[in-house]
């Protein structure tokens, strides 16, 4: 089947007729990975509004060409939207398998355009009108709310805000794995010192996480010795995450930086294209590496805000508002552009500058996790207090 035919077919299938392949209410083996693109990625150049003349008028130097107009053009996903060509090898296959959906016009009602404020807003996931509690992130609240408590982990050197809260969640940086210098014998001696102390649990858990990682590292090193290791950067990190998440851990968080493209971001090629390519490779690798567990997995890719719709004087873009979230997973109802939408033109911009936010992140994420875990209203209210949840039918 040709790709275009497949897309046509996928597009024609009515949503209601599609079987719910997974996520019977409250499935306990559901897995969630949140990928946070810190810096505000330029969503309009990842999911390209190819039908918008306004896009091509306002981005004379950095627009991704319309499908079919250049060798390295956007790939049509439907009449309105195209995929950045840097994602052809990695994300397009997932989209075609209906394992990937995009939610444009997503984001927060935080209009500060501050990276920090808006990242915090998202990670805390609290009612916008209330005083912030910096010790209560939404993923921590999710962790304590689920009846069958998931094993959560942050793949970062410090615990992200999203995981701060009532329960202790482990964190471990995967970018540079260090072979532990504390050997097996020393581990046993140290664990013995803590056996009858309040810290015994944390100490033992720490060693378990470390040893699990080292097993993965051993496999990696073996692969390296056979010259079989090709992954680098985020892809390598993503493979490591998958090995941990197909096993013990079922709620994960990772952040990927470097999206604050004020200058020379490029179009079909260049700085942003390279970053997207690496990100796409990571997500595709993650999906492969998850194996059968991919069917129970949902990956959400989000960012604090989108960027200015028009390019700036430095062939880059500045801090904006609405962005595009990605939802991927082996069992999702993807292969489509989901959520509230509006034609991309000057009159629909937020403050004549940015994408508007039509799909509020708490409503969106609340709807996702409600379906994934079969949460009732009271449970959802604990995770996202005050949010009116919107089910986009993605899971």
């Amino acid at each position: 089947m040709k790709r275009r035919d497949f897309l046509k077919l996928a597009g024609s299938a009515s949503l209601a007729a599609m079987p719910i392949r997974l996520y019977a209410a409250g499935r306990s083996n559901a897995r969630l990975l949140v990928v946070f693109l810190r810096g505000g990625y330029d969503a309009a150049n990842a999911l390209v509004p190819v039908a918008s003349d306004f896009y091509y008028e306002t981005r004379p130097n950095i627009a991704v060409p319309r499908p079919g107009t250049a060798a390295n053009a956007a790939i049509a996903l439907d009449a309105s939207w195209g995929l950045h060509p840097a994602l052809r090898a990695t994300l397009l296959p997932l989209y075609e398998k209906r394992q990937l959906a995009f939610v444009p016009f997503a984001g927060t009602h935080d209009a500060s355009r501050s990276h920090f404020t808006t990242q915090d807003t998202i990670e805390l996931g609290q009612d916008h009108d209330r005083a912030r509690n910096y010790n209560s992130g939404f993923l921590n609240r999710l962790t304590v709310t689920l009846a069958q408590r998931p094993t959560s982990i942050a793949f970062s050197n410090r615990l992200p805000l999203a995981f701060r809260g009532d329960v202790q969640i482990p964190n471990i940086g995967l970018r540079q794995l260090r072979k532990p210098a504390i050997d097996t014998e020393q581990t046993a001696v140290i664990a013995d010192m803590y056996r009858n102390t309040a810290l015994a649990g944390a100490v033992n858990e720490g060693f378990v996480v470390r040893d699990g990682l080292m097993q993965e590292l051993a496999a990696e090193m073996e692969a390296a010795s056979r010259n079989a290791i090709t992954a680098r950067g985020f892809e390598l990190q993503a493979q490591r995450m998958a090995r941990l998440m197909r096993g013990k851990y079922n709620v994960g968080f990772v952040d990927v930086g470097g999206w604050d493209t004020h200058v020379g971001q490029g179009g079909a090629e260049g700085n942003l294209a390279n970053r997207l390519e690496a990100l796409g490779r990571g997500i595709a690798s993650f999906s492969t590496e998850m194996g059968a567990a991919w069917n129970d997995t949902v990956v959400v890719v989000l960012s604090e805000f989108g960027r200015t719709f028009r390019e700036n004087g430095n062939r880059g873009t500045d801090h904006g508002h609405g962005t595009v979230y990605w939802v991927a997973g082996g069992g999702i109802r993807g292969g489509r552009i989901a959520g509230e939408q509006v034609a991309v033109q000057q009159s629909t911009l937020h403050q004549n500058r940015d994408y508007p936010v039509l799909n509020e992140y708490r409503a969106l994420l609340g709807g996702l996790v409600a379906r994934m875990y079969g949460l009732d209203d009271a449970q959802i209210a604990r995770v996202f207090p005050g949010a009116s949840v919107k089910d986009l039918g993605l899971v």
Binding site: Q168, A181, M193, R195, N204
Partner: protein
């Protein structure tokens, strides 16, 4: 190796010298007498283990020489000295390192102007590739300046005789947190610590508050430099009440936030000394000191109603009036006292203690040393010794003090790295609330595993703290002799059987050190 007799001798010499210095100070400073009069309030702590606990609480970590100092002076005189610190004489080798830093040689205004000019030159480059490289160089320079500040701070934490002042400097840096990786704050953070915080760390809260409110690092970090009449930015106004003074439940309203934001309009920075065209009638109100600027053009001259009081619109002195009110508000006395008690007594300090401290705070018009004195003299303080969990910065600095307290390190980079790795990097807290001061923030599994790894690096003497260049082998690896250092202080007798058993299994001094620095006992202060 075998450096213990040397360590001991040095410590005694240092303690003797310190006593002499103290006597000299006392002779020339009449106020020492009044302090001595209230000596009775300070606790008399005896016994080797108790001394170690006291040191672990009021300093960045007990060392053998500090223990001897307490023994020689008695706990009361020791605390007295810590509460009224004299000049912080650092070991010459440490002082020389600090003197060599760019941040020690340039003023804030110079540093900030230079990096701003570098930034502008970079942005002006037409070629995108050249611009990218120039921007990177700008970022690297900022980072270098931030690391210099961290280096200076760590050297003082390890080697300053004024240990309580250093601990309080960290506390206030955390209380009035700024995040170095926002914009050009890295170029300002050293000055912020050195001029706005440290000089007032043991002084009057109102003075400290005022110093932070005028510092460009704070004004930039919390966006007050963007706060102008009719273009209000509430960020700083809100945090000033919620985090710096009254506390979230301290009794202010959203209306007060907005009014304080209006009061703060026009308070900002002027890096390049740009001439402002101020209306002649307001000309005399314009202020430009260093990088700080009060620009009447941006100030809202209308009258305000703040915390129930009318504030006559008149310019910068409105800010002083507002800060006076905030600093003297009973909620502030309570909020700050409680936070001090969380830092220096217990995660959930007894209400009665907080009340007594708050009373002192109000009675003394926010004299920080007086509040600490009330706290130190309390039975709650004495009872709490040894029961606070060390956060990463306490862990790292106490380990390095124990290992190298008498042998100046020349390379603080590994320490900066360890703190980052454990998520408590200096000036690395992104949010204005500062790092958590309680155990729950720092006992995660990953944290513990990382501590053990760091214990091993320090214990084995392979941390490169004594080398400026990791590749050179000019400096021999110096394995710290913790077991000998501690044997003098009877610490070893007080360890739990499980820890004693572990130490007995050590196959080398390096491993002994690793186990000791990994032990449950070493996790507490």
């Amino acid at each position: 190796m075998g450096s213990i007799p040397v360590l001991g001798w040095k410590a005694i010499a240092a303690a003797a010298a310190a006593v002499v210095t103290l006597a000299a100070c006392a002779a020339s400073a009449p106020e020492t007498r009044t302090a001595a009069a209230s000596n009775a309030a300070l606790p008399r702590i005896q016994g080797a283990q108790e001394r170690m606990h006291l040191l672990n609480r009021v300093t960045w970590g007990a060392t053998a020489s500090a223990a001897r100092e307490v023994e020689a002076l008695g706990s009361q005189r020791y605390l007295e000295r810590q509460l009224k610190p004299g000049p912080a004489a650092l070991p010459p080798a440490v002082q020389a390192q600090i003197d060599a830093l760019t941040i020690s040689q340039r003023t804030l205004a110079e540093l900030v102007r230079e990096v701003e000019q570098q930034r502008r030159a970079a942005v002006a480059l037409a070629d995108p590739e050249a611009q990218k490289l120039a921007r990177r160089a700008y970022q690297q320079e900022l980072t270098r300046l931030g690391r210099e500040a961290a280096t200076r701070s760590l050297l003082r934490a390890i080697y300053s005789p004024n240990q309580l002042e250093e601990k309080m400097t960290w506390f206030w840096m955390n209380h009035f947190n700024v995040f170095q990786f926002k914009a050009n704050v890295r170029a300002m953070i050293g000055d912020y610590e050195e001029r706005a915080i440290r000089p007032h760390a043991m002084g009057r809260f109102r003075t400290l508050l005022g110093a932070t409110a005028r510092h460009p690092a704070m004004l930039r970090y919390l966006d007050n430099s963007l706060n102008a009449a009719n273009r209000i930015n509430e960020n700083y106004a809100r945090e000033l009440m919620e985090l710096h003074t009254l506390g979230a439940t301290g009794g202010y309203t959203q209306q007060d936030v907005q009014e304080l934001a209006r009061i703060l309009t026009g308070v900002g920075t002027n890096i390049l000394g740009v001439q402002r065209k101020v209306r002649p009638v307001r000309q005399r109100e314009y202020v430009h000191q260093g990088v700080f600027e009060f620009n009447p053009n941006r100030h809202d001259y209308g009258d305000k109603l703040f915390l129930g009081h009318a504030v006559k619109g008149r310019g910068l002195s409105e800010v002083d009036e507002a800060l006076d009110r905030l600093a003297r508000h009973p909620s502030t006395a309570r909020f700050v006292s409680r936070k001090l008690a969380v830092y220096l007594v217990a995660d959930d300090p007894p209400e009665a203690l907080v009340e007594r401290m708050a009373k002192t705070f109000q009675a003394s018009d926010g004299d920080i040393a007086a509040v600490l004195r009330t706290m130190f003299g309390s039975p709650e303080f004495a009872a709490s010794l040894g029961h606070k969990f060390k956060d990463p910065v306490h862990y790292v600095v106490s380990a390095v003090r124990l290992a190298y307290g008498d042998k100046p390190i020349v390379n603080a980079a590994p320490m900066i790295g360890w703190l980052n790795r454990m998520g408590q990097g200096l000036y690395g807290r992104q949010t204005p609330d500062g790092y958590p001061l309680t155990r729950t923030g720092w006992v995660s599994p990953g944290q513990m595993t990382t501590r053990f790894e760091i214990a091993r690096v320090i214990g084995s003497g392979r941390a490169n703290l004594l080398k400026t260049d990791a590749r050179s082998d000019a400096e021999a690896i110096a394995v710290p002799q913790l077991s000998s250092a501690l044997s003098h202080e009877s610490v070893l007798k007080t360890l739990s059987p499980a820890t004693a058993k572990a130490l007995a299994q050590a196959r080398s001094p390096q491993e002994w050190n690793t186990y000791f620095l990994s032990s449950p006992e070493f996790m507490n202060r």
